[in-house]
């Protein structure tokens, strides 16, 4: 473990750089109410965060990340546009034997700006590249927005598209659903029998005959889902050309420049991703305009899919090959919508983990 003082010095250096770039330094509480984090991340966060309880305030978590409290603070009373930077500890439970630290410093930079998303993406990336200059790290980028556009453009029913969108950040489940909706894998066991049993039946009688209506989920909701299951059996399989396009997008791997060309090529046969592919090219231009050498950038079609589920556009990371990223970040427009109570703002940012940087430098 690198010396704590060295790590802190490393953090201070990035923190100063981010402030010099025009970001306002902000602090957040160490104790965060569980409710918002749970609502956002789901049960998994309970396994990852340190949960504690307060007799008055209820369940609290030791800050597992900065993004959520910063977005909340910005949505409550932030000026526009805004740039924030922060430095402090985050806490994560780790499995025994992994040797990963349970508390570590993060230094972050977040941009809330409506003007030009492509330029804001490039600004954040270029600033991180500068902060990490000379560290012999490899930069990778991805774009979850392309994948989202592809799913939205699939020739299938709205419920099926929604199911896929919901599971974009769970790759195994996403693939299973995709195979099923393509007719390449069977429907869940018992589905066929259930739908067959519905034919010519009084559905309300079927539901009420099965047992008393108990709990918050009503018989209406059960009947509505039965209706949608019946409709689902009528939905044609997703055309194999579209499945292949989604697979190609997910499997894209190589230089960012070539990836732009390949995305454009995929968009010829699958126009749904055309706008997203053009957005990707605009971002590359914006990166180049800020002095980033896009020829050395790697593109990974699945980058950022298994991290916390809020990145929905540009994603990036800096790492030594095969190691955990020293820095990572991305765009999270949807998160501001979820936390904004009716308001939203395009947002992009990232964090550096100075401890890993110290190890890299050692």
């Amino acid at each position: 473990m690198a010396d704590k003082a060295l790590i802190r010095a490393e953090a201070e250096r990035a923190f100063a750089l981010f402030q010099a770039a025009g970001a306002q330094a902000v602090e957040t509480d160490l104790l965060q109410p569980s409710e918002v984090l749970l609502d956002l991340y789901g049960e998994d966060i309970r396994a990852r965060a340190y949960v504690t309880s307060d007799a008055v305030r209820g369940e609290q978590m030791l800050r597992p990340d900065f993004t959520v409290p910063i977005v909340q603070a910005h949505m409550a009373d932030g000026a526009e546009p805004a740039r924030y930077t922060y430095m402090g500890e985050v806490f994560r439970q780790q499995d025994a034997g992994t040797g990963r630290p349970r508390e570590y410093l993060q230094v972050g930079y977040e941009v809330f700006d409506r003007a030009s998303p492509a330029d804001a993406d490039a600004e954040v990336f270029a600033l991180f590249a500068e902060a990490l200059k000379g560290r012999e790290l490899h930069a990778s980028i991805g774009d979850i927005g392309v994948l989202i556009a592809a799913v939205r453009g699939l020739t299938t029913s709205e419920p099926r598209r929604a199911a896929l969108l919901r599971h974009i950040w769970r790759p195994t489940r996403f693939r299973a659903l995709l195979d099923r909706f393509a007719g390449r894998a069977p429907m869940p066991h018992g589905r066929e029998a259930l739908v067959a049993a519905l034919a010519g039946q009084d559905v309300a009688a079927l539901v009420s005959g099965a047992g008393p209506e108990i709990g918050l989920r009503s018989a209406d909701e059960v009947e509505a889902r039965l209706a949608s299951l019946r409709e689902d059996t009528e939905v044609a399989p997703i055309p194999s050309t579209e499945i292949d396009a989604v697979s190609a997008i997910l499997n894209l791997l190589g230089g960012a420049d070539q990836a732009a060309g390949q995305l454009a090529e995929i968009a010829v046969g699958f126009p749904a991703i055309k706008a997203a592919a053009q957005g990707f090219v605009r971002r590359l231009h914006a990166l180049a305009a800020r002095g980033v050498d896009v020829e050395t950038l790697s593109y990974e079609g699945s980058y950022g899919r298994t991290s916390m589920e809020y990145y929905d556009g540009f994603v990036f990371g800096f790492a030594r090959d095969g190691a955990a990223p020293v820095a990572s970040g991305g765009r999270y427009d949807a998160l501001t919508r979820m936390l904004g109570q009716g308001r939203e703002i395009p947002a992009v940012g990232g964090v550096i983990r100075p401890a890993l940087l110290q190890q890299e430098g050692a």
Binding site: D39, E43, T172, G211, P212, G215, R225
Partner: protein, 232 residues
């Protein structure tokens, strides 16, 4: 130093454990009155019997404060992180069978598996504004199971007892609990989801891997119990 053997302190589980040891030539009994939590051992050298709440036996085994303990697989897996590093299952005892299962109201005719539960959780969250609640005391096991299956949009709510009643009380939409016959679920108008249970549990004799047990005594006890040669 003698071996410390912990056994559930009351009820059917205690009686079945006494009978299991008795059938193998080791007599276990309460010392003195019914209310005393110490025991007497015959037929085995250097074994001290301790009567303890079944729920605390996993913790004591993991900490190495007892050398042997009888408890359910469910409790060991829920309460001991990396349980396989801390305890060694010596023998499944053939009683106390119970499955950890997920159950939903019987009138949910649209739900029979985890795929359905996931879809319903999404619809429920959209309609009610919060995640579908699953009442349980087995947080770790249930969470790991649902994560593996790719179920999202649910939350666990803690229920330490009378879990089957939480749905009618509108404090949960589904439950995850231990059941042996399913009678309590049935009486509360619930049905078990298809497929493998989250866990099949039974009463099991565990050895602590962290206690400083006397190896000779341990081997002798295992031989008496017919558990064959064990390395300690």
């Amino acid at each position: 130093m003698s071996l410390k053997l912990a056994v559930p302190s009351k009820g059917r589980l205690m009686e079945d454990t006494f009978a299991w040891f008795g059938a193998r030539g080791v007599g276990l009994s309460r010392a003195g009155s019914e209310r005393e939590y110490a025991g007497a051992v015959t037929g085995a050298e250097g074994v001290e019997l301790i009567l303890m709440s079944a729920g605390e036996i996993p913790r004591e085994l993991a900490a190495g404060r007892i050398d042997l303990g009888v408890t359910g697989t469910d409790l060991v897996r829920e309460k001991i992180p990396l349980w396989a590093d801390k305890v060694d299952p010596l023998a499944e005892m053939g009683f106390g069978h119970a499955n950890l299962i997920l159950a939903v109201p019987q009138f949910w005719v649209d739900v029979s598996n985890l795929d359905d539960l996931d879809a319903v959780a999404a619809a429920f969250r959209a309609r009610h504004g919060f995640r579908l609640r699953i009442a349980t005391k087995y947080h770790r096991l249930v969470r790991e199971h649902l994560t593996r299956a790719g179920v999202a949009d649910y939350q666990l709510v803690d229920s330490q007892g009378a879990t089957e009643g939480t749905i009618k009380n509108a404090t949960a939409e589904a439950v995850a609990d231990i059941t042996s016959t399913g009678a309590t679920l049935e009486a509360n108008h619930l049905k078990i989801l298809d497929g493998e249970p989250i866990l099949r549990s039974q009463a099991t004799l565990f050895a602590s891997k962290t206690s400083q047990a006397d190896v000779a005594l341990m081997s002798a006890l295992c031989a008496t119990l017919g558990l064959g040669d064990k390395n300690f």
